[in-house]
């Protein structure tokens, strides 16, 4: 009896001690998974308080409700359903539209947020291999033109019949925003994954850069052709293997040419962009891919602090002038 009481007391004390130990400032590796914008999001950070990552995922949800094309009442949904009338949107949406316009202009329309009439005609996710009607696709492509997006103050006007889809840029914007949010909560070491967008905070706790594998274009997912360093910035890869289907010997992938509505057909299999901003990296990966190696590399060389690696179907690798510091021997 007495022994039992002593044991109970000892255990209770141990509980208190170990609970108190958990409240210390020592940061532990923690991770969280969420699903937003059709993408699996994984957050891995060295933090003491697990609520920080939960709160960061809640932020993702907030942005999704703002930027999703399909969530009723989102900024994008309201612009698309306004029938040509001006719509007041958030500062977030305005920032994204501004960056999107710049990438569109610099790439001669190779990246275009008004791609939705075309992209909604394709189904790259369900596994069904079906082509859209060619005439309908051609007609839809005529309703793709970023120059028709009019911004006046915080009001956005889009001609009736046109549609915006921020799919090629919003993930990057949210990645940047979540990174800033975590930094604001005191996180100094983290790696965040938003589909093809990887964003890091600082370095690994041992002081070395984060490492990001660049998918081998001919091998199963998880086999890497190159290994890239990430020094606390953004690494975005856009590749034809990510989403698509095969039909009659042709691989139809998700990177669509805004001019024709068909998947971009050139020598490239993937483009990886190294940059500070993942929003820019996201849009530039698509733009550079659509432009092809030569013109894509020219575009990237014009931009300070942005580098790229192009991988062609024949496995040849082309890197921009400053990309070397990001690439590791593998």
């Amino acid at each position: 009896m007495r022994n039992a009481r002593v044991w109970a007391l000892a255990l209770a004390l141990l509980c208190l001690v170990s609970l108190a130990g958990c409240g210390g400032a020592e940061a532990k590796k923690q991770s969280a998974v969420g699903f937003y914008l059709d993408t699996v999001i994984t957050l891995t950070a060295y933090v003491d308080d697990p609520a920080v990552l939960e709160d960061a995922l809640a932020e993702c949800g907030r942005y999704e409700r703002l930027l999703s094309r399909t969530v009723e009442g989102s900024d994008v949904w309201r612009v698309n359903h306004a029938g040509g009338e001006p719509v007041e949107v958030s500062a977030d949406t305005l920032s994204i539209l501004d960056a999107a316009r710049q990438v569109s202009e610099r790439s001669g329309g190779a990246f275009d947020v008004t791609i939705a009439p075309v992209s909604t005609m394709w189904d790259f996710t369900s596994g069904a291999a079906a082509l859209p009607d060619a005439d309908a696709l051609r007609a839809a492509a005529e309703r793709v033109d970023y120059r028709q997006v009019a911004v006046d103050g915080s009001a956005v006007t889009l001609p009736a019949g046109m549609m915006i889809d921020l799919g090629g840029i919003a993930k990057g914007y949210i990645a940047d925003a979540v990174k800033a949010y975590l930094e604001g909560r005191g996180v100094t070491s983290a790696i965040l994954s938003f589909g093809g967008n990887i964003v890091a905070i600082g370095r690994k706790p041992d002081g070395t850069p984060w490492k990001v594998g660049i998918q081998d274009i001919d091998r199963p997912t998880g086999a890497y052709m190159l290994v890239a360093r990430n020094f606390g910035g953004s690494t975005v890869t856009s590749g034809i293997y990510e989403r698509g289907f095969e039909l009659d010997g042709t691989w139809y992938h998700h990177i669509l040419d805004p001019a024709t509505g068909w998947p971009v057909q050139n020598e490239l299999a993937s483009v990886t962009i190294f940059s500070e901003s993942s929003m820019w990296g996201d849009a530039l990966a698509t733009a550079a891919f659509a432009l092809g190696t030569e013109k894509g590399a020219e575009l990237i060389e014009e931009l300070p602090g942005v580098e790229a690696v192009f991988i062609a179907h024949d496995r040849s690798v082309t890197a921009t002038s400053g990309a070397e510091e990001y690439l590791m021997e593998s």
Partner: protein, 150 residues
């Protein structure tokens, strides 16, 4: 750009977590207020037989494989052992996870998008290089697999 799935999970790493859990369990038992464990949300088959809930292997391993359903821990195993894990839910959802001792991958799932199967394998070599780190996630079935170290 689609709907939200309220699916998230946090993991605390380290021995402290295990120690804390053990101590809390001990405390609850000692104080006589241990609650009955909720009924498991899914059946787990380990190497073809219903899993009895006993910890899988006590062999020391620097990596473990943690399987969760709806964010709740289901089973965890040492990375370095070969096992077949099948997660069968009441609605007929099945995920078959394979551990070879050197790799972990989703061998089969009857989900609609097959994303989890296409996420490929997690190995020691690609663990920190993969886009999703040590994760393999089946969103339609709310099953998450994570390979992580102590």
């Amino acid at each position: 750009m689609d709907r939200i799935h309220g699916f998230l999970r946090l993991h605390v790493q380290g021995r402290r977590r295990v120690a804390l859990a053990l101590l809390l369990a001990a405390c609850l038992c000692a104080s006589g207020c241990a609650r009955k464990a909720p009924a498991p949300a899914a059946k787990v088959l380990l190497d073809g037989a219903p899993w009895d809930g006993e910890p899988v292997s006590t062999a020391a391993d620097d990596l473990r494989v943690y399987v969760t359903l709806d964010g709740d821990a289901l089973i965890d195993l040492p990375f370095g052992e070969a096992h077949a894990v099948e997660i069968v839910q009441a609605d007929g959802s099945v995920n078959a996870l394979r551990l070879t001792g050197e790799a972990v991958f989703m061998e089969h799932a009857n989900c609609e998008n097959q994303d989890c199967v296409q996420m490929g394998e997690v190995t020691r070599d690609n663990l920190e290089l993969r886009v999703m780190g040590g994760f393999i996630v089946c969103l339609p079935h709310r099953v998450s697999v994570e390979v992580r170290g102590e």
